[in-house]
């Protein structure tokens, strides 16, 4: 049944193609059926394949399906070939299953919008490309998926294209991620030039054989790939596009800018982890970037007024955790957090989307409130998602995944106390901004009238994702709570286990308790600020320091301003300065000289005999002079 693998990416691609070819005549119901249905079938096939993969693993615990060779030039023969192992399997399942749930939700959420077919076409194209990205067996094909999802992200951020603001957000996302993509591409060039292949597994084998750990070339290569990863995964210093990307519809934010595409960077690092282990300084840099990002985004999330921007900063922050995990060699923990994060963050975005839906496109947190009673289902599922995001101990999945990262940031041989402290502060911030959002949205007095209702296609995904956000954590239970490392066992072979620093293994219990307390304490703190002492909070924000910090965080630490001054404005200015192509001046100059010469000579032809006689005489003098003196 593994032979069916190619069907998984083909189905959404086929649907996208169908939408492209079909004219306007296709009715909405049919669009919905094909758009979501194709991904649903793909999810079913993916589940079926996964079941087969788990029950009877293929030899070597990986499966390669060669479709066709892209090109053959000497030894360079990249193929359209799919590679399935535990890592790509997890990603494939998340993409198809969560993707299907989100598309199901979208059939109702987007029903009233123009461009229904365009929406589903692009979403399906995205899912197909994302699947190619994670299933690719070589880096060229991975790059195809990588750029494909970038395009879809661009198109969907700008889905409501009539508003130039959305177009701006879309362009920003495309250009900023493309900067990272160039780094990735250069990494590909370097790897191919040095190792003469771009097949990922072959590359890893050759890298290990060729390069000693800590030598320069793998560092450069890993660093360049990291550049691609930070662009796509919205990490420092290329993070600011993701916040503006919230201009797109909620299902887009849920699927592309939370659950799947933005985790491509994490996937890339996990996929090429051998390269990173050969480059310890780059791993350290990765961890530092992840840690810094999670902290910065956490603070920014705390002050946002737009519910989706809170979630966007939260996504940046949570991916920061994953990147931190990659940096300290906690590969499995990072992948596990990716999966859990996909569940609860998709849930939160869909929940937020439902709120926005019934409030008539209202996204300001301070105009919401009291929705607990009116939207009970949304409230409870959103609460579960928030609990998972805040890592509420024991019951939520986020606790198991995030705690694992925070713990290994300390306990791994590449970890240290600073990473742990950042992780704990981040966890505290996470609880605060998450429940600030919950309290402002669902508690307190109602401020905006509820107009729409949430149909069954929107409710089912919320419930399923809520269930996953609760239950999926039990796939990986730490030793103190019963020790059930099912997920780690499954990953075994595809990713190495974290190497713990000596003497750390026994202390996990203590640190688990600490992070559990921090999570709950964060919720309590924000409860005091928002519900208990709202006046104090308002005063705090109005103090000079508070006000300055508030604005600074609201603007995302001024990154956009810096880029605007250093890059955007100079580029636009220079481009417009030379709009008429200065080089052409040179040629125009030649043309002008010719014309002047022409005019000068024309003047001499005046028809006056004395001028001609003078010219004649002068010419004769010159010629005779030449003849005499030379």
């Amino acid at each position: 049944m593994l032979e069916l693998l190619f069907i998984v990416p083909c189905l959404p691609y086929a649907a996208a193609l169908l939408f492209t070819l079909a004219g306007k005549r296709m009715p909405r119901a049919m669009t919905a059926l094909i758009g979501a249905g194709s991904v649903g079938v793909a999810a079913a096939v993916a589940l079926w394949i996964s079941a087969g993969f788990i029950t009877s693993p293929p030899p070597g615990r990986h499966y390669v399906q060669h479709l066709w060779t892209w090109w053959r030039i000497g030894s360079f023969q990249p193929a359209f070939a799919l590679y399935l192992d535990a890592v790509s399997l997890v990603w494939m399942l998340v993409i198809t299953v969560v993707g299907f749930l989100i598309l199901l939700y979208a059939t109702a959420d987007m029903w009233a919008e123009d461009g229904y077919r365009r929406f589903f076409g692009t979403m399906d194209l995205f899912i197909g490309s994302m699947l190619i990205l994670v299933l690719a067996d070589n880096l060229v094909l991975l790059y195809l998926g990588w750029e494909g999802v970038g395009l879809c992200s661009y198109l969907l951020i700008g889905f409501w294209y009539k508003d130039p603001q959305n177009g701006y957000a879309a362009r920003k996302a495309f250009v900023m991620t493309r900067v990272g993509d160039v780094a990735l591409l250069l990494g590909l060039f370097l790897l191919f030039t040095q190792l003469d292949t771009l097949n990922i597994q072959e590359l890893m084998t050759r890298a290990r054989q060729t390069w000693p750990a800590g030598s320069f070339t793998p560092m450069l290569a890993a660093g360049l790939l990291l550049g691609g990863a930070v662009g796509k995964s919205a990490q420092l210093p290329l993070q600011s596009w993701l916040v503006d990307a919230m201009a797109g519809p909620s299902p887009v934010s849920a699927l592309i800018h939370a659950a799947t595409m933005v985790t491509s960077g994490v996937y890339l690092i996990a996929r090429t982890h051998v390269l990173y282990t050969l480059a310890p300084p780059v791993m350290f840099a990765t961890a530092v970037l992840g840690a810094a990002t999670l902290l910065l985004a956490g603070f920014s999330g705390l002050v946002q007024t737009d519910i989706k921007r809170v979630l966007a900063y939260s996504t940046i922050s949570q991916i920061g955790y994953m990147i931190l995990a990659m940096g300290v060699g906690a590969w499995i923990a990072g992948v596990f957090h990716f999966m859990i994060h996909a569940f609860f963050k998709a849930l939160l975005f869909l929940g937020a989307g439902a709120v926005i839906h019934v409030l008539g496109h209202e996204r300001n947190l301070f105009k919401m409130g009291g929705l607990r009673k009116q939207l009970p289902l949304t409230f409870w599922t959103f609460l579960i998602g928030s609990g998972a995001l805040s890592a509420v101990p024991l019951v939520t999945a986020g606790f198991y995944s995030k705690d694992l990262i925070i713990w290994q940031a300390l306990a791994s041989e590449r970890g240290n106390v600073a990473f742990w402290i950042v992780g704990i502060i981040g966890a505290f911030l996470t609880s605060m901004y998450t429940f600030r959002m919950v309290f402002l949205t669902f508690f307190g007095p109602a401020k905006t009238e509820v107009r729409g209702r949430i149909g069954l296609p929107m409710q089912i995904p919320l419930v399923v994702l809520a269930a996953l956000s609760l239950a999926a954590g039990f796939l990986q239970v730490p030793p103190v709570l019963g020790n059930l490392p099912a997920f780690a066992d499954f990953m075994h072979g595809a990713l190495p286990a974290t190497v713990l620093a000596p003497g750390m293994a026994t202390r996990e219990g203590l640190f688990t308790v600490i992070s559990a307390i921090v999570s709950l304490w964060g919720i309590f703190t924000i409860y005091v600020f928002i519900i208990g002492l709202p006046r104090f909070t308002a005063w705090l924000v109005r103090t000079p320091l508070g006000d300055r910090l508030y604005r600074f965080w609201l603007d995302g630490w001024g990154f956009d301003w810096v880029y605007d001054c250093l890059l955007v404005r100079p580029y636009v200015f220079l481009a417009h300065l030379n709009r008429n192509d200065g080089i052409d001046r040179l040629y125009q100059g030649i043309a002008l000289l010719n014309r002047l010469g022409n005019r000068g000579l024309t003047r001499t032809q005046s028809g006056q005999v004395r001028w001609y006689a003078t010219g004649f005489a002068l010419g004769a003098v010159v010629i005779i002079g030449l003849a005499v003196f030379l």
């Binding site: 892209w70 123009d114 060229v140 661009y154 362009r171 495309f174 030039t193 481009a575």
Partner: protein, 529 residues
């Protein structure tokens, strides 16, 4: 003989179409269509018979289905045509795009349609000759034949404003380049004659003519400048924005799609193969010019207000990849150049056709006055988006394969140039999304109903898109045909370049005295494969 027929059919078809055009415009179109289809069939038959490992010069004399007759015997001028995989692919491309141009012109050219078709078919005939000529004098003849009808196409059917000026500019630039090439051809002719006693213009004979370094460099530059103008290369590109802006869409399919590829073809066939040593010495400069073109073109494109002018500068930007690939001169880069040539020909044609479609409907191509077309003409908008993404180098479309191969090949020759050229992938996104924003997205520029692409236009865009997609996901059939030819070029260049002639590695490093760049490790010649 088939090769001669390829040209004869087009020349006579052109005259026939012109004559028919006096009675019926529709009739002349069908005549032109028939001529092109016959030619396409002939070219396909050559393709079928082409051996896999064909490369010019086959046995030092002639390509497959070669046609070789004395023309002006006393001067050693022969009418010698021949093809290898590389030229044949370009011949096929020329005919396919000729069809596209004909379809684009189908009922949009209303003024003297018969005379237009005469020019169209003659320019195609000239181009085919350029791709097939194996005699340098004959090559020059076709090179000029290509130019004159194009001048007429711009000056008669171009924009009402500025077309004459643009046509004259185009003509003077090309003519000056052509003049330099003629001088270079004559210099080579005499150098070869003096050396061997055999005065001939035959390509196969002239290969490997020993030249003093300085003389070789001068002659090489003569050829180079002619091709550089046609491509165009940065610094001699300034005819391009005017000509591309003013020429009519079907003419642009030829001008931007095919004639620029004649420049690229010349660089590979003549500059690299005839002057391996000087070409190797010039490589750092050639690649730098390419890199500069990529960035300069893209930045200029972003600043334009006129949609066609924007696309024109994007074309300059993409031709930079050709320059880099040609002078990187390894198998990856050269095959990449082939892919860039084919894909760019397709995507630029589509962009100009769509720009015309937009202009014909909205009455303007001013980016400040366009916008929101997605809600009025979705099909045209979707197509425009797709071809903008091709310009960006989106994987899955042919342009990506070409640019990727060129860059991965040039990486082994010069890392810094590759890095800067790769930045072109960012700058190209900037202008491409700007087109999308200004034409497709944004608020509607006017509340009016416009007709979307009709069947003919949809078919055109669809065919071009399908070709681009095919080149993007399965370019192997094309690469297989051109592989042997590219190998031969590379070997020719490697065999006779100074680097190969001296065993001393240090002498090989600075053959023509560019120690600074080479010593810094910026440039490495060759690099297998």
């Amino acid at each position: 003989m088939t090769l001669a027929w390829l040209i004869i059919v087009l020349l006579s078809g052109g005259i026939l179409a012109w004559l028919t055009g006096r009675w019926s415009a529709a009739g002349s179109r069908w005549v032109a269509l028939a001529a092109l289809l016959v030619d396409l069939g002939l070219a396909a038959s050559v393709l079928v018979r082409l051996p896999v490992a064909s490369a010019l010069p086959l046995d030092g004399v002639s390509g497959l289905a070669g046609f070789d007759r004395p023309w002006i015997a006393p001067l050693g001028i022969r009418f010698h045509l021949g093809v290898d995989g590389f030229s044949l692919v370009l011949v096929l491309l020329t005919l396919l795009l000729g069809l596209v141009a004909l379809l684009a012109a189908w009922n949009t050219v209303r003024e003297q349609p018969g005379f237009f078709l005469l020019n169209l078919l003659w320019v195609l005939a000239g181009t085919l000759g350029v791709f097939m000529a194996l005699d340098l004098f004959l090559f020059y003849f076709f090179w000029e034949l290509m130019l004159v009808p194009m001048y007429f196409i711009i000056t008669v059917w171009g924009d009402t404003v500025g077309r004459h000026q643009a046509a004259v500019k185009f003509f003077i630039y090309s003519q000056l380049g052509g003049l330099l090439m003629l001088l270079a051809i004559l210099a080579l002719y005499f150098a070869h004659g003096r050396h061997s006693g055999l005065y001939t213009f035959d390509y196969g004979q002239l290969l490997g003519t020993p030249l003093a370094p300085a003389a070789g460099m001068m002659i090489m530059l003569g050829f180079f400048i002619a091709f550089a103008v046609k491509l165009p290369v940065f610094l001699v590109h300034t005819w391009l924005p005017d000509a591309y802006t003013r020429a009519p869409a079907p003419g642009l399919v030829i001008l931007a799609g095919i004639m620029s590829k004649a420049g690229a073809y010349g660089l590979i066939r003549f500059v690299l193969a005839l002057f391996p040593g000087p070409a190797a010495a010039f490589a750092p400069y050639g690649m730098s010019l390419g890199m500069a073109a990529i960035l300069y073109g893209a930045i200029m494109a972003f600043a334009q207000r006129d949609l066609k002018r924007l696309i024109a500068y994007s074309s300059l930007s993409h031709m930079g990849f050709v320059m880099i690939g040609v002078f990187a001169c390894n198998q990856l880069a050269l095959q990449g150049v082939v892919m860039v040539m084919l894909s760019h020909a397709i995507s630029i044609s589509a962009l100009f056709i769509l720009a015309y479609a937009v202009e014909a409907r909205t009455g303007t191509r001013d980016l400040e006055r366009l916008g929101g077309l997605w809600s009025t003409i979705p099909r045209a908008s979707g197509a425009l988006l797709l071809f903008c993404m091709a310009a960006v180098g989106l994987p899955g479309l042919g342009n990506f394969v070409g640019e990727f191969l060129v860059l991965i090949g040039s990486y082994r020759v010069s890392v810094p140039i590759t890095v800067f050229a790769a930045l072109g992938l960012v700058t190209s996104v900037i202008y491409a999304v700007w087109i999308v924003q200004r034409v497709v997205h944004g608020p509607e520029a006017g509340k009016r109903r416009l007709p979307d692409l009709d069947v003919r236009e949809t078919a055109l865009a669809g065919i071009l898109a399908a070709m681009l997609l095919w080149l993007g996901v399965y370019p192997q059939p094309v690469l297989k045909v051109t592989a042997a030819a590219m190998h031969a070029v590379q070997e020719e260049a490697a065999l006779r370049s100074p680097a190969a002639q001296t065993d001393d590695a240090t002498a090989a490093k600075a053959p023509m005295g560019f120690p600074a760049v080479e010593a810094a490790g910026w440039f490495k010649r060759g690099g297998q494969p």
